[in-house]
Symmetry: C2
Subunit: 356 residues, 2 copies
DNA sequence: CACCTTTGCGAAAAGGTTTTCGCATAGGAC
DNA sequence: GTCCTATGCGAAAACCTTTTCGCAAAGGTG
């Protein structure tokens, strides 16, 4: 158990096992079929390596093979102000697990909205010679990747809706919304309320709202709409949604269920309904979107899941695939993967009350 | 703008600028004082590098210098079940920002509770020859680092309370609890309720509770205690806390404020109080701990911040420091940094009501 | 004019691994 | 006993950068 404190090289192992460095390499990387090794020799080498605590030098290997066996990931940290965007934690979780399961590792670069920072991160990833890249669409949209990146590097985009020939993994927002409306219809709800920011604000605002309106129409229901202002922080969003709905309730009535563009709006709805003396779900059912905060609301919130874990896993899988296929970049045909959003039914939805 | 698609080496640049590779290196890394370069030559090299889109090979450099200019980070992903522990997102955010600001990068390994996984990650980090390591205490406690890691590698622990000679960055749980009790006393509260798991469950359970009890005593207040069961998921914790408090209220009364071991308990308290017909904060004040969910509760929850960002930043700083000082490991004297938890006052605390 | 100093740049080694190529030895066949 | 083959292992090149050392040329001084 002699452990040389610092750097033990392949040569040290070779000396101890009384073989050549090349032989040690062959024993330790049985992949290459260039030359067989006797069992005795193999044993000796392995023993020496163990005794010396040998660990191959990652950089030497990567330098030679040209492969880093690493995948670069750019992550959206949101603003430093907000408490760190708990949003992408599940996604990173999935990416990391998937990539490490493939024997690779993750080199990560957090992207603040600051663009020079993004550029730095990308340059870094490129110098690192990672085998592939996973990039959130908003970063890609904002930064001219091609200028800094080796164009031969496989790239997978998440949540990107512009024109591109790169493989993309997107959330299909509409599926879950349709599920939600259907779920409400089955519970006997006839008059629904949509709460969300103006559709112009962002593509997803329009998509989710359109899906809602279309589903309502298809099922022969009625709907009203409450258009929200949208402050930046989560806390302000809750407060704004609450205030809006409270105003709205004072003048309108008749809806028995609310579907929200996002969770913070739904949390605001919880508060507004309580203040208006209405119970969730006995008087009004509420459905949120994203499914980060929903489980800890009371009652536990029925919500449409953003499927962050699934998106992360699929994106990582795609990246691994591209990284390993040497015939890579064969993908003339673009691959767009749509991950369906999914309704998670909890306890904020129930049979429609008879309200007028 | 001729961009050779793939690998352009320092030699290519040298050829184009009609100088030697060594000269190119000297121009591009002005750090080394071994030999001055004429302005004309410098210009030519820079131009050639730009035209070719040269980017130095990270692995070649690291192999030579023996330094990766990278810091390894092990992160607690919690169980795959839970939706990805939004908990550590702010901490990673801070670590990443700090490390990248120092010109290094982050090699990350997510630690599921699975120990063989941790071992793999650690081995990986070691092969990678990172310059320092940031490891959560629970991982360190569970895994015999010394066996796999080069012992010369600087390591910084976060949230570790066992005996060790390694530098540690911990949260000082007590400070915020004292602030919280003081805050309540100033608002006129005299009878407080503590809600938390049994103190034996975990060190932090005892520490926070003890701080609470001592503060109550010092300020001449009274307190009761509600001991909670603690299921694994956040959703179940909310439900359990709610049920417990609802029972408790039926038999006891007289407290005007609740201090909770964690946020999920506080969210449960919100729900229980509402169901019991008590308003927050008019009838009862509530204080939570961690400050992840607190901002989106309604009313926005006064909570003790776990200071994840600060812990991350300080740990990263310490790691960078150890990585750069070549005299490193000089630290005979252990450095324990205590980050004070901090009360974030929002709207779930108010002047004490007159309840009996 | 000769010699010395300074300045600018090239040559080459080092760093640790992988892999190809070729050599040597052992075993079998005739 | 000789020749051939198969098998096991060593030598050395290649990967790309950094850095030391030394050389050469230019400029200044005696």
């Amino acid at each position: 158990m002699t452990r040389k404190s610092s750097k033990v090289t392949i040569e040290d192992v070779a000396r101890r096992a009384k073989v050549s460095p090349g032989t040690v390499s062959k024993v330790l990387n049985p992949s290459s079929e260039s030359g067989r090794i006797s069992e005795a020799c193999s044993q000796a080498v392995r023993k020496a390596a163990l005794q010396l605590g040998y660990q191959p030098n990652y950089h030497a290997r990567s330098l030679l093979t040209g492969k880093a066996r690493a995948i670069g990931v750019v992550l959206n940290q949101g603003d430093a102000e907000e408490n760190g965007a708990p949003f992408w934690a599940p996604m990173f979780n999935a990416i990391d697990t998937t990539i490490r399961a493939s024997g690779r590792h993750v080199v990560i670069v957090g992207a603040v909205d600051d663009l020079t920072d993004v550029a730095n991160g990308l340059r870094f990833l490129n110098e690192h010679r990672v085998d592939a890249l996973v990039i959130p669409g908003f970063v890609f949209a904002a930064h001219p990747i091609s200028a800094t990146m080796d164009s031969a590097l496989p790239i997978v985009l998440t949540e990107f809706h512009g024109p591109t020939s790169l493989p993309v993994v997107n959330l299909d927002d509409a599926v879950g919304v349709v599920e939600a409306v259907t779920h409400l219809a089955q519970l006997g709800h006839r008059r629904l309320l949509w709460m969300g920011p103006p559709p112009e604000l962002h593509r997803s605002c329009a998509v989710r709202r359109d899906a809602f309106l279309k589903a309502v129409q298809n099922l022969g229901l009625e709907s009203t709409e409450l258009c929200l202002v949208r402050p930046r922080t989560d806390q302000e969003q809750v407060a704004a949604a609450r205030a809006s709905l409270l105003n709205f309730i004072a003048e309108h009535s008749g809806f028995t269920a609310v579907v929200c563009y996002e969770e913070t709006a739904a949390l605001g709805a919880y508060a507004a309904l309580a203040n208006a003396g209405l119970r969730v779900p006995e008087d009004v059912s509420v459905i949120g979107f994203d499914d980060i905060y929903a489980p800890v609301a009371w009652p536990p919130m029925t919500a449409i899941s953003h499927q962050l874990q699934k998106i992360g896993r699929v994106a990582a899988l795609r990246a691994i695939e591209l990284a390993s296929s040497d015939t890579a970049r064969a993908g003339f045909q673009q691959q767009i993967e749509q991950i369906p959003s999914q309704l998670m039914i909890r306890q904020s939805t129930a049979t429609a009350a008879l309200r007028g």
